[in-house]
């Protein structure tokens, strides 16, 4: 896959992240994976609406 594709993918990722509400004071440390689980729901929901790759 070309780095151009990754640049485009990254640009879309940054857009999606910018539109996501900031988590409210929720902390996560190097030994907890779970506390960021909910952060991604908005991005997943938006991606399901726009992603036509057939994923999910």
């Amino acid at each position: 896959m070309s780095s151009k594709f990754n640049d485009k993918s990254f640009a879309e990722f940054v857009n999606a992240l910018d539109e996501m509400a900031e988590p409210e004071g929720v902390g996560s440390t190097a030994h907890t994976s779970s506390v960021s689980v909910r952060d991604w729901e908005a991005i997943r929901a938006a991606s399901n609406a726009t992603d036509n790759t057939g994923r999910e």
């Binding site: 640049d7 857009n15 902390g27 907890t32 997943r44």
Partner: protein
């Protein structure tokens, strides 16, 4: 400041696995499981302080289901509880556990420790020295089948440094449709790593891989971790996997560089100061890291005012930061992305003579993300031009 993260060592250091790099396993042996009365005493004495509880270990699912229910009842009765999370190796997970925890801990957040399939999990082993990844994958499948969202932590070890490892790890999580986050964490065990005292195959293997005055053979150097993160990030972007799960440290770096504030302590100004750990024997500590760098462990019985103890620890960590690290970081060109890491990590790297290498690797990671951000700005500008805006 957010809620205090309370790490509850439900089974102390006890675990059904004996991973070579596990810091918990290197602590002085402790017996027993967390007594509900100890938890109640702790919570009564911090009444009113907002907390998030993390069920941790050793392996937290080693406690009986009855004890787990009692502990969750006590947590649910705490007035300022803001959430419950669990970090487990997944090998003991079954539908009954998932139902019990979901019913008793509303909106519990699931975290699984997973290093990848086959050779990638070489250092996550049973007492007999066997790889444990298949049992963890089975536990993950239970969450998948029940439609439960979860996050993964992958400890990056020497097993991840062979060619194609990032692709193999990315391949192995492709089928995990309920996964919401993947956190890559470096194994920076240094020359002071303590020997496992167990007379088991796993203990002997750990001792055989220790080297005098050198890093253990399972640990990675900072630049090796940065390289793996870069390789995995390429896989993540190529597969557009960001549509499905968050990847750290990449997302934290982007958040910081975009003016958002990462909540991950490794990339956050607040460092690891908002953490307190409770052990089954009533010991509390600021964080739960390796016994090679103990941070303020004290018995609950000797503490008159737990909130004052926590504030003292925070103040002491702030002072240490200002005294030993603030000058280096304030003049650093990548501080806006890096945020200095955790005090624990900085201390560990300085004590083992790897501080410069560590900072260089952070510069490399921030530099790569800055490069991507610059190029993505150009991609967006070109897109706007095409649209005639």
């Amino acid at each position: 400041m957010g809620p205090l993260l309370v790490i509850l060592k439900l089974a102390g250091q006890q675990c059904n696995l004996d991973c070579l790099y596990c810091y918990e396993r290197r602590k002085p042996a402790g017996r027993g499981h967390l007594d509900p009365a100890v938890l109640q005493d702790f919570l009564t004495r911090i009444e009113g302080t907002p907390i998030r509880a993390l069920l941790h270990g050793g392996e937290p699912l080693l406690v009986t289901r009855h004890r787990m229910s009692e502990l969750l009842d006590i947590l649910n009765g705490y007035s300022a509880l803001e959430g419950i999370a669990i970090q487990t190796n997944g090998t003991l997970l079954d539908e009954e556990w998932v139902r019990l925890l979901n019913d008793a801990a509303k909106d519990i957040e699931w975290g699984i420790s997973y290093d990848g399939t086959a050779g990638l999990s070489e250092f996550r082993q049973t007492y007999r020295g066997d790889s444990s990844w298949a049992d963890t994958a089975r536990g993950i499948q239970v969450l998948e089948d029940m439609g439960m969202p979860y996050g993964l932590i992958t400890v990056v070890t020497r097993a991840h440094l062979t060619a194609g490892s990032a692709r193999r790890l990315a391949d192995s999580v492709e089928a995990f449709t309920q996964m919401r986050s993947l956190k890559l964490v470096p194994c920076f065990d240094g020359p002071a790593t303590a020997a496992n005292q167990l007379r088991t195959v796993s203990g002997e293997r750990q001792r055989n891989l220790l080297r005098p005055q050198a890093n253990p053979l399972w640990s990675v150097e900072p630049h090796e971790f940065a390289r793996f993160v870069d390789e995995f990030q390429s896989e993540w972007l190529e597969r557009e996997a960001w549509r499905r799960y968050r990847l750290d440290p990449i997302t934290s770096l982007v958040e910081n560089l975009r003016g958002r504030r990462s909540a991950y302590s490794d990339f956050n100004d607040n460092s690891d100061a908002d953490v307190v750990t409770l052990y089954p024997d009533g010991t509390i500590a600021a964080n739960d890291r390796a016994n090679e760098v103990v941070s303020g462990e004290v018995s609950l019985a000797e503490v008159a005012d737990i909130r004052a103890y926590i504030e003292d620890i925070r103040e002491s960590m702030r002072s240490e930061w200002l005294r030993d690290y603030a000058d280096v970081c304030s003049s650093c060109e990548v501080y806006d992305g890096c945020r200095g890491s955790e005090l624990f990590t900085r201390r560990q790297m300085r004590l083992s003579g790897r501080e410069d290498a560590f900072c260089d690797s952070r510069k490399e990671m921030v530099g790569k993300i800055r490069g991507l951000l610059d190029r993505s700005a150009k991609v967006q500008a070109a897109g706007r031009e095409r649209m005639g805006q």
